[in-house]
């Protein structure tokens, strides 16, 4: 116990001997969160107050002639989409398929599947998807409100014939849509879970959420994979061998190195989570225990990979470049730099081999999709599974090291 404590303290001492490390540990990640958040903001968060000059054409093919399709189309221009009804969707254009049961289902509060054809290489894909999502949310919400109003009206005897009912419904619907000029907040959109988009059934994070989670994953990976760099330099510097002739077992030595790095990573995570909440208004506090568990599992998986790397890499220089390269690469691929929702399905399948992907999914679910502790437990399990595999191989190789 005393030895583990000594090793953890030593890890902190070594990490912070130079002010530069503090810069990488703390200052850069926060700066990047701010910068990336602002950058993504231009792309992600559609702002109704500043309509863009250019409207993106969206071809719509509908089997439903109901009132809600009309309302949906009417909402699109506000989101800079120029809807155009067509019989057959053209290739290589943004296209939306609306099924016949769209209006009926929305009014029943049932699930509706809209199919959005996006263009993977087009920078507007993301904006279009957001806009469609927001639009369907607004219409779905308004429809529910209108339907409730209609119930009231029916009970009060204001309407009697089907024609009167339809008339009433349309008026209320338009009223609601008109008064709610601003798209409702994300959480409320999901309350009207009337329609979904097949492409991906989930809501997306805001730019600040995406930046906070993404930069956390990126920078913490550098710290945790840094276990490789630290272990390699202890091996080359002779201090590892010296530890192995003290009355501490190999297991304790490895555990001490692992815990030292893990503690550093967790400290950094805590700072970035609190920073994300206080500086950038990201709501990390909805399910603190869930955030903590996901973070812990991700940290353990990543530090374990660092240990495994240490047993493979030969030189300090190699370790350094691999740590940075792998951190950046895994962060980017895993959805830390841009949302996975805008990537093709095959890509999303492939990147499931990265722990960063699962951490980002869990964080996004917690931040943007209202997931709770129980719902992210599978992600925690997967991350711990990664840790188990990395550690088993790493420990096995370390035990054989001479």
């Amino acid at each position: 116990m005393q030895r583990l404590r000594a090793m953890i303290r030593n890890e902190f001492l070594l990490e912070f001997t130079s002010p530069i490390s503090l810069f990488f540990f703390l200052v850069l990640p926060l700066l990047f969160t701010a910068a990336v958040g602002a950058g993504l903001g231009g792309m992600m968060d559609q702002d109704a107050d500043t309509p863009q000059e250019v409207r993106i054409p969206l071809y719509v093919q509908t089997q439903d002639q109901g009132s809600l399709v009309e309302a949906l189309l009417a909402v699109f221009p506000e989101a800079n989409l120029q809807p155009e009804l067509v019989e057959v969707l053209p290739e290589e254009q943004f296209g939306l398929e609306i099924p016949a049961y769209f209006s009926a289902a929305l009014l029943n509060g049932d699930m509706v599947t809209l199919t959005l054809h996006t263009l993977p290489d087009n920078s507007s894909s993301f904006a279009v998807e957001q806009a469609v999502r927001a639009a369907q949310g607004r219409v779905g919400g308004a429809a529910l409100v209108a339907k409730m109003g209609l119930e009231q009206a029916r009970q009060a005897g204001v309407v009697s014939t089907p024609e009167e009912e339809l008339q009433f419904f349309r008026e209320v619907l338009n009223e609601v849509l008109a008064t709610a000029q601003q798209p409702p907040a994300t959480a409320q959109v999901r309350w009207a879970e009337g329609a979904t988009i097949t492409d991906d059934a989930n809501a997306m994070a805001t730019s600040a959420e995406q930046a906070s989670a993404g930069q956390l994953v990126t920078w913490v990976q550098i710290t945790l994979l840094g276990a490789a760099e630290v272990l390699v330099s202890e091996r080359l510097g002779g201090t590892l061998r010296r530890m192995l002739v003290t009355p501490a077992s190999r297991f304790v030595v490895l555990l001490g190195k692992l815990l030292g790095r893990l503690a550093l990573g967790l400290l950094q995570m805590t700072i970035l989570l609190v920073g994300g909440a206080l500086l950038f208004g990201v709501n990390w506090g909805r399910h603190p225990l869930a955030v903590a568990l996901v973070s812990l599992a991700f940290a353990i998986a990543t530090v374990s990979l660092g240990i495994l790397l240490a047993t493979v890499v030969k030189t300090r220089g190699q370790a350094g470049s691999i740590v940075v390269g792998l951190s950046m690469g895994m962060a980017a691929l895993g959805g830390a730099w841009y949302p996975l929702e805008i990537t093709p399905p095959l890509y999303r399948q492939v990147v499931q081999i990265l722990p960063s992907t699962w951490a980002m999914r869990a964080y996004t679910d917690l931040l943007a999709r209202g997931a709770n502790l129980v719902q992210v437990l599978p992600y925690v399990g997967i991350l711990l599974g990664f840790a188990l595999v990395f550690l088993t191989v790493g420990v096995w190789r370390f035990q054989r090291y001479e």
Binding site: A6, R241, A248
Partner: protein, 315 residues
């Protein structure tokens, strides 16, 4: 009583490679300074590494204080302190931080640890640099700190692997004196070196290693007696490069048992220096070489090594 028993110890780093340590056996008695003397690559560090539980022997075994190094490594580590040949320190931390960390790793804590740190800093004459980072230290200071770390907790068996390489004479003197003092205070010391003067000055017994094998073992007197009642004649030449030719010319001559050359010096192991000198002068003259100084010495470990291997210790 033997504190360390080394039995037929073998280490082969690669299955096809040579034996870095080849069937080495010796004992270290409690309370003595035992030196392993040998040139670079002789296998000294490899031997120490197996005794200190760091390397697994390919064959043979080592028992330290009654504990087999492979079966009870932890018990062995409780007994030993090691100052490795290559500095093993945190260069970005201070001397004090280093001592504190390594002390805790040895299991020291609280007031005892504080006392140990202060004592070791004072012993190694580093007290006034306690808070300075190791990377600002001179080579000699680093060596002293490296040694101090190995002595934390006053282990019963201290292993010092070439603790004086590449340092200033003052630090070297300091370390040698300290080894003697520590031994007088009861510590058993395993000391490796390729300087025969150090082995000669410090050791109760000496093992001479070469190419993985222990080629001689005993007290200084026992070892030098092996060379017989010989004398050593050292000739320094004016011509730096001429040593090898002269050594060759003298090899096999009557009364010359061994001849070797290094650094413009020719070392002869002879029956009688008085008889051999005219011969050597004549041969040098034949070769067109001139002799600058002549030195006649009692047999020493250098002669012993030469006698046993036909090579000088420091080639």
């Amino acid at each position: 009583m033997a504190l360390v028993e080394v039995n037929n110890l073998v280490k082969r780093y690669t299955s096809a490679g040579p034996n870095a340590v080849d069937a080495v056996s010796f004992e270290i008695h409690a309370g003595e300074v035992f030196s392993l003397l040998g040139p670079n690559g002789a296998g000294k560090t490899t031997t120490i590494s197996m005794i200190s539980t760091l390397l697994t022997p390919t064959a043979g075994n080592v028992v330290v204080d009654g504990h087999d190094v492979q079966r009870e490594p932890m018990a062995v580590r409780e007994v030993i302190g090691v100052a490795p040949q290559d500095l093993a320190l945190y260069h970005d931390l201070s001397a004090e931080e280093n001592l504190r960390f390594w002390g805790e790793m040895r299991g020291l804590g609280g007031a005892e640890l504080k006392r140990e740190i202060a004592e070791k800093l004072a012993l190694m004459d580093l007290s006034d640099r306690a808070k300075a980072r190791v990377k600002t230290f001179s080579g000699g200071m680093k060596r002293r700190l490296n040694l101090a770390v190995g002595l934390l907790g006053n282990p019963r068996l201290v292993m010092l692997d070439e603790p004086t390489v590449a340092i200033d004479p003052q630090s070297r003197r300091y370390i040698l004196d300290y080894v003697k003092r520590m031994n007088a205070d009861g510590a058993t010391v395993l000391y490796t070196t390729h300087y025969m003067e150090e082995a000669q000055e410090l050791s109760h017994r000496i093992g001479i290693m070469d190419q993985g094998r222990l080629i001689a073992l005993g007290t200084l007197e026992e070892l030098t007696r092996q060379v017989g009642e010989h004398e050593t004649l050292v000739l320094k030449l004016h011509q730096e490069g001429g040593g090898a030719a002269l050594a060759e010319a003298l090899t096999g001559c009557e009364d010359v048992f061994e001849a070797s050359a290094s650094n413009g010096e020719v070392t002869l192991n002879v029956d009688s220096a008085q008889a051999a000198l005219p011969l050597a002068l004549a041969k040098a003259g034949d070769l067109g070489l001139s002799i600058r100084t002549v030195d006649i010495r009692e047999p020493n470990l250098e002669t012993v090594f030469l006698h046993l291997t036909g090579r000088a210790l420091r080639d």
